[in-house]
């Protein structure tokens, strides 16, 4: 809640130059997480560089390769309701609409969605230790209340989860993140964008210093036939996932030719198991096979007490969501389990 300066960038290059002015200069787009963190005295920017008005970030356009480019500055709601996204990438549309609230989706941008910080109670309380917020200070979550915490990919340092829904779908769709920085532009495959906590839980992703997300590319394949997003939480809407699952299939009759399963709410990044997906390829789309795939996905899952249930829940959620993907019309508002 410190005082800070404010500038509007005039283009991407200008934004990247302005943000390099000091260690504590940040971009601001939707602001839905940054302002929240600033008011909790967790982030203290010296200056904010407003990138909301950059036309370069605000389009959704078809790519020559048949894919779709989502501008980083496009609002989550505008992305979810975009006709091409609704028709060709319905999984992404459903996942975005399962996140936050209508108001927040009208504010939050696609780029910002990728950069959300964890909702860990301890991260959010500057008065208590947290290795993510204050490296080396400790992690009260492991021995504390950890209902929301990770079961996969945890480290001694951190058991926080990444809270996005949109990113679970982007992970399943093999999106690519385009960034611009002081050293020029580059593209990062989605699975390499976020990272596990390891011994650097302060780092949520592999963006380099002062890099700006400019767009997200969706590949041509949208899985409009068989898809489902399921979100399980402590109320039916406007709550973060305890477990969420994004599933898509390409089916050849009842045989799976391409399977994607990504989990949210269980790890420091959207969680995919290529082993499990490969296992399903060439197999019948059956509850038995989905259960075997779930076991592969959850191999090595570990609870910390209050979140032990997530292991059992995730397995059942994966199976159910695979079944729902066979009948996408059964999906309910808020990504609730099908009736």
């Amino acid at each position: 809640m410190n005082n800070f300066g404010y500038k509007q960038a005039s283009n991407i290059d200008d934004a990247v130059t302005l943000v390099a002015a000091s260690e504590k200069t940040s971009f601001i787009a939707g602001g839905t997480n940054l302002i929240d963190l600033w008011k909790y005295n967790i982030t203290n920017p010296a200056e904010l560089i407003d990138i909301n008005h950059l036309n370069e970030l605000s389009n959704i356009e078809q790519l020559e390769n048949g894919g779709l480019r989502l501008g980083a500055g496009v609002k989550n709601a505008d992305t979810a309701y975009h006709p091409i996204v609704e028709q060709k990438y319905p999984l992404l549309s459903k996942a975005i609409l399962a996140g936050a609230s209508a108001q927040i989706r009208n504010m939050a941008t696609n780029g910002g969605n990728l950069l959300q910080r964890t909702r860990c109670y301890y991260f959010y309380d500057p008065e208590v230790p947290c290795n993510k917020r204050n490296p080396g200070s400790g992690c009260p979550a492991k021995d504390g209340y950890n209902r929301m915490h990770a079961i996969l990919g945890t480290s001694e340092q951190c058991i926080a989860v990444f809270p996005s829904d949109m990113c679970v779908a982007l992970a399943a769709l093999d999106a690519v993140v385009n960034v611009s920085g002081p050293e020029g532009a580059r593209s990062i495959p989605f699975k390499e964008f976020h990272r596990l906590p390891g011994d650097r839980p302060d780092l949520d992703n592999n963006l380099k210093k002062n890099e700006l997300i400019t767009s997200i590319d969706l590949p041509e394949k949208g899985f409009e036939g068989n898809y489902s997003y399921l979100k399980l939480r402590d109320r039916h809407s406007y709550a973060f996932a305890l477990v969420s699952v994004a599933t898509t299939f390409t089916l050849d009759g009842s045989i799976i030719s391409d399977a994607r399963i990504a989990l949210g709410g269980v790890a420091h990044q959207p969680w995919r198991s290529f082993e499990a997906e490969q296992f399903l390829e060439g197999k019948t789309a059956s509850e038995e096979n989905f259960a075997l795939a779930a076991d592969l996905i959850l191999k090595g899952a570990k609870g910390f007490g209050d979140n032990d249930f997530k292991i059992k829940l995730a397995k059942k959620a994966i199976i159910r969501n695979c079944l729902m993907a066979l009948r996408p019309e059964t999906q309910l508002p808020g990504a609730q389990p099908a009736a």
Binding site: F4, A102, Y238
Partner: protein
């Protein structure tokens, strides 16, 4: 009495001058970058109809319409909205004539303490403009960003359904 467009506060060195159209009235004010749109409305412009319930984007009480879209004023910096057209609950009625949503809220007793009401009303108007909610279940889902601690949920959804089905909104 203060007029709606008069800035109640002194300004400081770090201020930016911004133009806002609030409830149809053009306003120029000088504001520090760290002032939220919510605090700008309430503390600087005396438009206290927009409510502060959590100040962290978790209750929806501060919902306003910004260029026609429902947003949370608590997570918006006023400086970011330079040039925007803002509608708050004070600008919903047409003079003495209530907006159909406002009347439906009264008719369905869609509030008790009234504190979440301005946010619910702005959010409902945003929802109807969006046109994405076709069923009661979808209205409930798309209104879930507005908490009501008094538990007036049934009345709120009934009021919105009545206006939605009646089509008597802009």
């Amino acid at each position: 009495m203060l007029t709606e467009t008069q800035d109640l506060k002194q300004t400081s060195a770090g201020s930016h001058t911004i133009d806002l159209t609030i409830n149809g009235k053009h306003t120029t004010l000088s504001i520090e970058p760290w002032v939220s749109l919510l605090d700008c409305l309430r503390d600087h412009l005396n438009l206290t109809g927009t409510k502060k319930g959590c100040d962290h984007g978790q209750c929806g009480a501060c919902t306003v319409l910004c260029d026609g879209k429902r947003v949370l004023s608590c997570l918006t910096l006023a400086v970011m909205k330079n040039g925007a057209d803002i509608t708050t609950v004070e600008g919903i009625a047409n003079g003495e004539e209530l907006h159909p949503i406002q009347q439906a809220f009264i008719d369905h007793d869609a509030f008790q303490c009234g504190y979440c009401t301005p946010g619910q009303i702005c959010s409902a108007i945003g929802l109807l403009k969006e046109g994405k909610a076709n069923s009661r279940a979808e209205v409930k889902e798309l209104m879930s960003g507005n908490l009501c601690r008094c538990g007036a949920n049934v009345g709120i959804i009934d009021a919105i359904m009545q206006v939605k089905d009646g089509g008597s909104y802009e």
